[in-house]
Symmetry: C2
Subunit: 639 residues, 2 copies
């Protein structure tokens, strides 16, 4: 079935050595032809093939690999360790690590407390819910998560997204209880979504939100949040609830006219460390009673740790579906952020992170969170970076932070009564401005213009419209790019690099020369139904262009069309049809179709469909050089 | 910026000739090293790049090519010829062609008249609407279409689809007028959809319905229609309106009990040519008055040509949206069928078919049709094949057919009164059974198992559920395949073919040998956000697998990882990030990352992102062989 290739051409040096025979120092006799066939891989049965595909799609990371060849009891221990990585790394935990973790934990706690109070307001929830979400979820994560650097808790972008989506359904001012219950419902389903994706190993779905789109989305959300926080910073009363920049700017400039002056003394605060400024400003307000002169303060934070909220989740009624929908969106965004952070730090410290396991951990943490009065928590960019820089060693830093939050909830929340909103606003602004990644945007511009469009689309979508629209634009552009990739693959005309037998794209290598009477086209993609017609027509168009040129310069016409198939990793029935049609069209033009280096899957299918027989098995070659030397004997004799 | 490559390795024979210098017979001095760089293509500006992408996506067939360098008046003439191809081929029309077209036209007319009457019933419309749709649309198509072989008119699958979708909205028995008006509305929007796709050159969107899915869908629809027609064939009274096989079989077997016998005399008819059997059976019924003994007959067909239906189209109200939705679906399916037919015959006779122009023609024809009491018309498989075999030369055969239908409508429709429904049912069954393409299904099974799943999914979806569900399954599976392709590209370990410098997949070429201390991985896809993480992790996994094996056999560890980038046609920012992370991970393991043969776009982006500098420009090679010889000097010295 497979075609026999004589490789007496220039590419195969007769003096060259067989690597396999290095040890025996056996040499091929001079000038003897080496015979290589285009390999047909051993036939696999359907079940094996299917199993391999499923494995590669869903279990690409081979999660069961360490379980192989282990006794039953060991398997159980390993299973528990897989589910709770703390059982594994906990055994080698020591005092040095604890010291690092305590310092890091205290640092992120001091950062998270003011942030949490502010973020809860972004989600239109009372301040204590932010603190609740920094108590339970980090604890759960510490036992189940495998990232050592991520800091768990509420984050700005998810809070804003959740606030916007929930407010679309229930007005938090009109019905605070329904709003809060819907928030817990959404959190529950966010967790379920995350855990499900992880459990069914569908984590790769979040890869469909491209890096560029995330950069744009985050930047846009950061700007929107920062502008919204100007409300708190200036103490503007009737600030817009809408998230688009026009309404925000309108409110800011509107307010600047009547009452923009009185809070100017707070402009210096963003530079000071968050907690210190909170403490100082709270004390200051308490002493001066500035709240009586127009300074907005927190007023009230509920004391005590998380109450149960199991009964508040809507498991029926019209809010069930709404909560589910909001939860899925918020859960996916939270996941994207957490996985991006996890991956970044894992690659910095070079440890492996199992994305699917992470999702199960994050999902469980949010499900438990939804039952203990928390809203969607995830990994925070700003706090994770601080955690890393403060020298965290393991997830114990999250436990330390959680403990500090617990103490805060138990004992000192009443003290936050006089904390001015402006200071919280300033803290949020300084936190979210870190999300605007100018360097990344510039790099994206330099590397890939299409990515830049996705990035800007998401950015302007969020800034000028809303977080949902921005998200929609980001996902749409990402998908458009994938569709473009699968419908319009690249093709290239190859030429011979002088002095070699290497054939390369003549646009990349202007020195590469075409072979007379032969047109060599490389197809740079698997040939599938989505692109088979395009590829066929593109190849014919290359041929027509070439023939036109040759005709105008009175050169001999093309007799052989070599299709370099190296990058064609797969072909389906539509692809085979397209090749058949190409063969027919070429036949009518007296051009011979020749294939070079089809891969294992392709050669298999060429045989299965009898296309190999149709064009002749002697028309399939191992390399372009082989094909050229076979189809242009004149050139061969001249060499 | 570009890396310099010394090509003194085995791949570049010093005795070899530079093709460019063949004429001058200049030879490179023996043993002089040839220097080749990895080419960096000339920098294009953003606008040019963007323009090229848009051109390749939307204007891949370069439709304006013939217009170049033509004077204004000539451009106008050519523009008219583009819109109305008849102006072009009409000039070389002659008597020989006319003879072929008349014979073919008469043949397809004799086939279409009974089919039309039957298909109209599939769409729950009165029989004359089928004939109307074979009068106006073929005329329009003859002037605007570029296929020479397609036969235009109502077709079975679209009629069934339209009937099902319309019936979901309005019951044709309860409100025949509203039903008919909705049918015209749907037809109008089907035409608009088709013309719009063509005009905006989005024709490639229909490529997303894969060949395999179409085969399955058509087969399923054919079986459903055939089973439904058993109603007419057996004369069963209370037949189900549902299209799923369970209800159909239930009705058939239910009816078989009480009244299955009386029409057995009609079992012989499907073998006889349609029109003759219609004439004979009509005559037979008229003589015997079998209609009085339970034989169902057509009863009434309106006489006269198409009345105007402009005012019947819903341009407002709730039916506007419904008609639009149904029209889009029906229009897409009709388009898929017509384009598939057009392409098949175009490749058989080797002429070019402009898909987008075809869509404009089909769309215009349906828009005009919707205003002249026609429902969605498209190219018919059965009649186009007959047209081709009867020796049609141009679209004039459609004009001839249209003329015969005109005569029929004007003069002989009353004669169809006594035509038995059973004969129409038999004609439809014999027509649709041709849509069941067993050979294609078997070939699909042989070539591509995944395609076969799509095919069977569509088939069983239609047969056991409904045409919409079948269609949904077909589209979903097609998309799943694309997603799989972009998220899980193939990778392969390369080995050296003994006696050559060619490196190939060791699974395909078991004779290929690995190079000691070097792992060569080929990535078989562009590296995009959707697969960049997978690719990075897959490469690391290859490395870990390899090192495990080497460790167990006490062989030296891997020092160099060569990534063969030939098939990597593009890379985006996420891809660059993945490479950076790969580089870091490898660095920690003391493995050197080396790239071989990055393409023009990739090398450009490697430089733009400074990744080329990060890994060192001397780590980027023209070929795998260059890379191997550079990174394993031991092997080089031994050779």
């Amino acid at each position: 079935m497979s075609s026999t290739i004589h490789s007496t051409d220039e590419e195969h040096q007769t003096k060259e050595m067989d690597i396999r025979s290095l040890s025996s120092s056996r040499r091929h006799p001079q000038n003897a032809p080496h015979i290589h066939k285009v390999g047909v891989p051993p036939k696999q049965n359907l079940f094996k093939e299917f199993k391999a595909t499923v494995k590669e799609t869903l279990f690409a990371d081979d999660p069961l690999r360490p379980f192989k060849d282990q006794p039953g009891s060991k398997k159980f221990v390993m299973g528990m360790q897989t589910l709770f990585p703390i059982l594994e790394w906990g055994r080698s935990y020591n005092f040095t690590k604890l010291r690092g973790d305590i310092i890091a934990g205290l640092t992120i706690a001091s950062l998270c407390i003011p942030q949490d109070i502010g973020y809860a307001k972004l989600a239109n929830l009372d301040p204590q819910y932010g603190l609740y979400s920094s108590f339970v979820p980090p604890l759960i994560y510490a036992f189940m998560g495998s990232s050592r650097d991520i800091a768990i808790g509420p984050v700005a972008v998810v809070s804003l997204l959740l606030g916007t989506l929930l407010q679309n359904e229930v007005d938090y001012k009109a019905d605070a209880e329904a709003y809060r219950r819907l928030a817990f419902t959404a959190t529950f389903f966010a967790g379920i979504t995350q855990a499900t994706l992880g459990f069914f190993r569908l984590g790769f779905l979040i890869d469909f939100l491209s890096h560029a789109a995330v950069v744009g989305f985050m930047g846009g959300a950061a700007i929107t949040i920062a502008l919204q926080q100007l409300k708190g910073l200036f103490g503007i009363q009737n600030f817009t609830k809408k998230t688009d920049i026009v309404s925000v700017l309108h409110s800011v400039f509107g307010a600047a006219h009547h009452g923009g002056k009185k809070n100017k003394k707070f402009f210096w605060v963003p530079a000071i460390a968050p907690l210190i400024s909170v403490v100082l400003s709270t004390f200051f307000v308490f002493i001066t009673r500035a709240d009586k002169h127009g300074v907005q303060i927190v007023r009230h934070i509920e004391k005590g740790i998380n109450p149960s909220s199991v009964k508040e989740i809507y498991f029926s009624g019209q809010f069930l579906l709404k909560g589910f929908r909001i939860g899925v969106v918020a859960g996916m965004i939270a996941l994207t952020e957490a996985v991006a952070i996890g991956r970044t730090f894992a690659s910095m410290k070079d440890y492996q992170l199992d994305g699917n396991k992470e999702m199960v951990a994050l999902g469980t943490m949010n499900v438990v969170g939804s039952m203990t009065s928390c809203y969607v928590a995830t990994g925070s960019f700003s706090r994770s970076a601080v955690n890393y820089m403060a020298g965290c060693q393991t997830a114990v830093s999250n436990i330390v932070m959680s403990f500090i939050v617990f103490l805060t909830l138990q004992f000192i929340t009443p003290l936050f009564k006089y904390t001015p909103n402006a200071i919280l606003a300033a803290i949020i602004i300084s936190a979210v401005l870190g999300l605007i990644d100018f360097e990344a945007a510039i790099l994206i511009w330099k590397i890939d213009k299409f990515d830049f469009i996705a990035c800007m689309g998401a950015f302007f979508g969020v800034v000028f419209s809303s977080v949902e629209i921005g998200l929609l634009i980001a996902v749409s552009i990402s998908f458009a790019k994938i569709l473009l990739q699968v419908t319009r693959p690249r093709t290239a005309i190859l030429g011979k690099l002088p002095g070699t037998t290497v054939y390369r794209n003549i646009q990349q290598y202007p020195g590469a020369t075409k072979v007379q009477g032969v047109l060599i086209v490389r197809v740079d993609s698997a040939i599938y139904f989505s692109n088979s017609n395009y590829i066929k027509e593109r190849i014919l168009r290359w041929l027509m262009d070439e023939e036109e040129q040759l005709k105008s310069s009175f050169q001999p016409k093309i007799q052989f069309l070599i299709v370099e198939m190296s990058p064609v990793t797969d072909i389906d029935t539509s692809g085979i049809h397209a090749l058949e049609e190409l063969h027919k069209s070429l036949h009518k033009r007296d051009v011979q179709l020749i294939l070079a280096n089809p891969g294992p899957v392709v050669i298999d299918k060429l045989h299965a469909s009898h296309f190999a027989t149709t064009i002749g098995e002697d028309k399939i070659f191992l390399t372009v050089a082989d094909a050229v030397s076979a189809c242009s004997p004149k050139l061969v004799t001249e060499v």
